[in-house]
């Protein structure tokens, strides 16, 4: 555990749930492409990314379940990774708004992945040096996966931006849809403070990467300050998350503890 700054149990739990929710919701969105990808090979590629992200979410949920169990006085506490994923309501989810946005077309899916993976990349780079050993280990493992997600999604951004008139038009439309959700990534919620992460540095690195990929994609967009939407990190979500959870949690809620 962090030696210099005392992190409360609540703060750690919320932080872990936030990281897990980000990965789970993004992974679930990607899984919606399964069987619908534009071409077989890319269908598999995005399903692989979905599995990577859901794997990350599992690691964070499993870790979060430990302090949650310890912090309640009830004789039986059934908190598990599954209950955290399938039995919490919209307001308890702490993912950022970006990941819950609908997939839209391929351009929108790609750009969302690119924004998010680039963010995860710089975040995990910092977390792999965290004082918390467990967090550190999860981040180091996930960083390898995320490195590939960044590579895959940036190449697609470049292909679409520097492709045909149609692909460029779609990428620009995706930018208009998604840009307002990127500001929230770098606006720390209370539980993100004291986690030894430098948000200013992260934002700088993220901006630099996004600008360099946009330049290669011949996309000329204003990436300076603009109004942005926020609230996801504290449970104030867009309507999309409710619909997503309804579909994702239906089976577990209708048939509790069902197995197959």
């Amino acid at each position: 555990m962090n030696k210099s700054i005392n992190i409360s149990t609540d703060q750690l739990i919320n932080y872990l749930l936030h990281l897990a929710d980000n990965s789970l919701i993004m992974g679930h969105r990607n899984s919606e492409w399964c069987g619908h990808g534009p071409i077989l090979e890319q269908d598999i590629a995005i399903s692989n990314i979905a599995l990577d992200l859901i794997g990350q979410a599992r690691n964070f949920y499993q870790y979060a379940a430990i302090p949650i169990k310890q912090s309640t006085n009830q004789p039986i506490n059934l908190t598990t990774e599954d209950s955290l994923a399938y039995l919490r309501d919209t307001r308890e989810y702490k993912n950022c708004l970006l990941v819950e946005q609908p997939n839209g077309d391929w351009a929108q899916t790609i750009l969302k992945q690119f924004f998010f993976s680039t963010y995860q990349y710089y975040l995990y780079q910092q977390l792999q040096n965290n004082a918390d050993d467990q967090l550190k280990a999860i981040a180091a493992k996930a960083l390898k996966e995320v490195t590939y997600h960044v590579r895959w999604s940036s190449e697609w951004v470049i292909r679409l931006g520097d492709g045909t008139d149609e692909s460029k038009k779609r990428l620009l439309r995706a930018f208009d849809e998604l840009w307002m959700f990127t500001g929230e990534l770098f606006e720390p919620a209370s539980y993100e403070l004291n986690m030894s992460t430098d948000f200013i540095l992260m934002k700088e690195e993220w901006n630099k990467k996004v600008c360099s990929v946009f330049e290669e994609a011949t996309i000329d967009v204003p990436v300076e300050k603009k109004w942005h939407q926020s609230g996801g990190k504290t449970g104030n979500h867009s309507e999309h998350l409710g619909l997503l959870l309804a579909e994702m949690q239906f089976m577990q809620r209708a048939y509790p503890n069902s197995e197959w």
């Binding site: 090979e41 890319q42 590629a45 692989n48 190449e155």
Partner: protein, 124 residues
């Protein structure tokens, strides 16, 4: 619109001699919008050779390698990937099989099985 034509290895077409038919590529009547086909070779371990793993579609070599990574190395099958566009692979014509392969049938002496190995030689 870029016209793409699909090629398969073994698709010796008109030329008969095993080369993929690339003479009539862009002028073919059917507009094919699919990406070209690539053959994928995976090396499973350092020191072993690359083996043919299968084929896939991709717009260019960089995408073919990434697709190969996603399609053929999901279960830790490989440490190295080669890709080559299928149209560059030339295949022998199955019609020639009698002449090409059957003559080797009765030449058992070409197998190195008629030597007495000294006991000291192991792992042969």
């Amino acid at each position: 619109m870029i016209l793409l034509r699909k090629f398969y290895y073994g698709d010796y077409g008109e030329s008969k001699n095993g080369a993929a038919d690339i003479s009539s590529d862009n002028s073919s009547s059917g507009v094919v919008t699919e990406w070209p086909l690539w053959e994928v070779f995976i090396r499973s371990k350092q020191g072993l050779d690359h083996k043919h793993a299968g084929s896939l579609h991709a717009a260019d070599a960089a995408m073919a390698i990434e697709n190969a990574r996603d399609v053929y190395t999901r279960r830790m099958e490989g440490v190295s990937i080669w890709v080559v566009e299928s149209k560059h692979i030339h295949a022998s014509n199955p019609d020639d099989a009698d002449a090409l392969y059957d003559p080797a049938n009765d030449k058992a002496y070409r197998h190195p099985t008629f030597y007495n190995l000294p006991d000291a030689v192991k792992h042969m």
